[in-house]
């Protein structure tokens, strides 16, 4: 699809999109229309309604409209609102850091290993810390895979070890060393109050303390783990919702070659 993604017959409507100043779209370009819902800790009243309106005005919302408000039963009031965002964003300036390798499929990865690495690649994974959500890491590692995409255990040339859930970082790393891992991959699903950050950071610190940071490909994943975040806290890559085994496999094997870890 082209940059503005619209087909010829409709271009007359919006030939004027200015990508340096984009705004929300309701039913007319640049109308700024947005929907909001939130609760204010004040009792259901006209004053509460006004407070919600003022709040949206402060956010730079024009013509805020309180479509619905109701008493939540503890002196707090819930609001559903619409209004027109006045801010704009320069879309032309946006650059998102990405895992930028061309994703190979299972056979591609297998061939790549045969040609470029010529020995089994060892990948050790787990759901570390107090996290017990194994479905994500299982989706990536187990034979069966996920959504019709086989997991790493089924890849020829990859030895995959899934160490399961609630794995303390120390134990996890010890096991990885024992198995002679080329890559360690960890999953973090519980992110409430940012519990995943200290846990992920701790693992990296342990790896550094062991002097292994250069020799290992270190990857994190989970529904709220962005590549950006992962890089920030010292990982080689981060993978989020919609990841399949081939994504992480491609990344690991190409990293190994690029970094001379073969």
């Amino acid at each position: 699809m082209s940059a503005d993604g619209r087909s010829t017959t409709s271009t007359t409507a919006h030939s004027t999109i200015d990508l340096t100043k984009i705004k929300p779209y309701g039913d007319t370009l640049n109308d700024g229309m947005m929907q909001f819902s939130f609760t204010l800790p004040v009792p259901y009243s006209d004053e509460a309604r006004e407070a919600a309106r003022l709040y949206l005005l402060k956010m730079g919302v024009d013509e805020p409209q309180i479509s619905h408000y109701e008493d939540l039963g503890v002196g707090y009031t819930f609001f559903v609102c619409y209004g027109k965002g006045t801010h704009t964003v320069d879309f032309t300036k946006i650059e998102v850091p990405k895992v930028d390798v061309e994703v190979m499929d299972k056979y591609g990865v297998e061939d790549y290993i045969k040609e470029n690495i010529k020995r089994p690649v060892v990948i050790v994974g787990a759901c570390t810390g107090t996290d017990a959500h194994t479905v994500g890491i299982d989706a990536i590692m187990n034979m069966k895979g996920y959504d019709g995409h086989y997991g790493l255990e089924r890849y020829e040339g990859i030895e995959a070890y899934n160490l399961g859930s609630q794995m303390p970082n120390e134990e996890f790393l010890a096991k990885a060393i024992e198995l002679n891992a080329d890559a360690v991959i960890v999953s973090q699903v519980v992110t409430q109050k940012d519990v995943h950050i200290p846990n992920l950071t701790n693992l990296i610190e342990l790896i550094e303390a062991e002097g292994l940071r250069d020799k290992l490909v270190v990857v994190a994943g989970g529904p709220r783990i962005s590549h950006e975040l992962a890089k920030e806290i010292g990982y080689d890559a981060g993978f989020s919702t919609g990841t399949y085994a081939e994504h992480v496999a491609t990344f690991v094997v190409t990293q190994m070659v690029q970094r001379g870890l073969v």
Binding site: D27, Q65, I66, V80
Partner: protein, 520 residues
Amino acid sequence: MQKNKLNLDFGLVAEARQSAARIAADIQPFIDQHSSVTVERTVARLLGIDGIDELERPLPNIMIEAIKKEGGLPLGAAYWIGRAMLATGKTPQEIAEGVAAGEIELAKLPEKSVEDIQAAVNKVAVKTVERIRANRAHREDFIKNVGEGPKPYLYVIVATGNIYEDVLQAQAAARQGADVIAVIRTTAQSLLDYVPYGPTTEGFGGTYATQENFRIMRRALDEVGNEVGRYIRLCNYCSGLCMPEIAAMGALERLDVMLNDALYGILFRDINMQRTLVDQYFSRIINGFAGIIINTGEDNYLTTADAVEEAHTVLASQFINEQFALRAGLPEEQMGLGHAFEMNPNLKDGFLLELSQAQMARDIFPKAPLKYMPPTKFMNGNIFKGHVQDALFNMVSIMTNQGIQLPGMLTEAIHTPLLQDRALSIENARYIFNNMRSISDEIEFKEGGMIQSRAQAVLADAAAMLKDIEQEGIMSTIEKGKFAGVKRPMNGGKGLDGVVVKDALYFNPFIELMLGKEGE
């Protein structure tokens, strides 16, 4: 499939249908004896007259006003156009332009024999009819070769006021899964006694219905239909003071669905009842011939009246609309009879009553692609609850095999749909339709339970009401306010001065061409 799930008394159904048939038959002589300005403008359009003058007055209006001013309307537009063709050798369009320019005065042209006039007119008329027939065939081919969505068709509206913005929204909707796109008309159009011209970009709560707008949207939908592999139906409104004209425009531009109700204009737009009854007849002949599904407006009763108490008026009106449609040669397969999910959501067991009502319509009109309207009256600013109301509505639809579904909008009480509202609404319906696809075949209703009894009671009330109307006559019934609680006097409302008694020599070539040859 047709299992009489509700244990309805089909003897009573037949009685009610006969009452409705007699009600319609009773008024047919009146319809046959009259014509109207819009009927005649329609004839002019179908004979090829289009365009506007420098004051933006449509040529069909200029023509018919010219004829009317001379007192010539009882003979019909076809007569005058044909006579002018013979007299001048010009095409209808050239004649209209001449009239508009003040260069031709129809009444002053030499007289011709009626046979010659009819022959001349028929030659042009047959071409138009062929064009419409070709449109119909084109639609059928598209569906055969490219495909269409399963029923219930998903019908969504676009209402930006700007035809180009509408196109954007319509194509988005089609990609999201919509099967029918209805371009809502601007607020005041139904009361205009002419059809605006050309592409338009300014409307309130809707976009003007113009032939050019029809064309633009038709092209856009064919394009996206090819892309998504489904024929996308286009819907507009032929209600108001220009019913047959808009029907004709729709037939020419291959629209697929038209709002078209025998009584709606009278009750909800205060259009004179004589005018509407005459206009609806010709409009339906055209729709019938063009293979256009009509949508009737029974749902409107429930936006003002209570859906529990007044359920039988919906059914009674469906019977009447059915009979009026049959008289106009419109087959059952094109009758999108309307009904709506409009009970108070806080009603205990209200869902069962809705289910009963919807199943009843299904069983009584088994071949009709019923048009089912979403909750509107009891929607409020709580979009989350509203989205659930819409989900329940979608469920009733798939549980009872409706034909055309207007998925509700979570923002119904707030604004005309945003792009995202429509996407969420379609997603809601598609999820439910797929996840419950076969449910209507799997579920039965308890013998003598609440669902069955309710339908039986509503049917009985509707049959009694129709008996009543049969005694009273449809016009007098409306005068007394028995439909939707609205009283409309015989000679009140808009547009009466556009009604005319036909002369013995009156003729309209299209009635015969469309009705005789293609009517069921």
